[in-house]
Assembly symmetry: C2
Homo-oligomer: 136 residues x 2
């Protein structure tokens, strides 16, 4: 059997990611990227936390979360403050505007997942998500 790029898991994962990004951008009205979306939703789940912890809980490198936080701050969705108990830390929390859009983000996210998984039926989606999670 000849080796084929189209059967490589890494290549197919890249294609699936591209399609998801395309679906995401098609529906996005808030001007967020998938990464910024993930960080914002996670802050909503966790409440305020340090920039470093936020990076770990969203699987982002320290350098990556730094840029994401900078851009979310510039867009007005989050606010930063000093941690009174630890001078190393920058505490990240939702701004009032960030709080306001949280429900909207959840609905948006659900729609993106729905559209991305559209080629699979209900039963397949469950099986697929389960297997995909095991690969992480």
């Amino acid at each position: 059997m000849a080796y084929r790029l189209d059967e490589q898991i890494g290549y197919i994962l890249r294609l699936a990611n591209q399609r998801h990004a395309s679906v995401f951008n098609k529906h996005s009205d808030l001007g967020l990227t998938p990464t910024q979306f993930a960080a914002l939703v996670r802050i909503g789940e966790m409440g305020s936390c340090s920039q470093n912890l936020l990076g770990r809980r969203t699987a982002m490198d320290v350098a990556t979360i730094k840029g994401v936080v900078t851009r979310l701050k510039a867009k007005g969705f989050i606010q930063l403050s000093a941690d009174p108990g630890d001078k190393r830390r920058t505490v990240v929390s939702l701004s009032p505007q960030g709080q306001d859009v949280l429900d909207q983000l959840h609905q948006f996210g659900a729609r993106v997942t729905e559209d991305t998984l559209a080629p699979l039926n209900k039963e397949e989606r469950k099986v697929f998500l389960d297997m995909l999670k095991r690969l992480t």
Copy 2:
């Protein structure tokens, strides 16, 4: 049911991609990135072709394939030439060194796919790859 980031297909896909990249880099001895690997294998499949066509066949943007070709050329795996019939085109082909490592690349790629899919058994892999392809 509360909305959760950990159930978002886009987020999980990103995690799976991260794990694949990690497996790829752990085994890589040729100093290639997954993207460079994909381009090189594709040239091996197609023979020489234009830079633009190579980009389309590896799902890379014109600006992206430009950088990838530049770096593969710098590493000595490919060579560039002018298309005698179309002055717009840059023809990309494997260098002798690129030809030499092709078999090695195939074996390497098979091992990366194997290791990345390790959490799934034989039957599951088939089902998973089939469903993943439908999402592209």
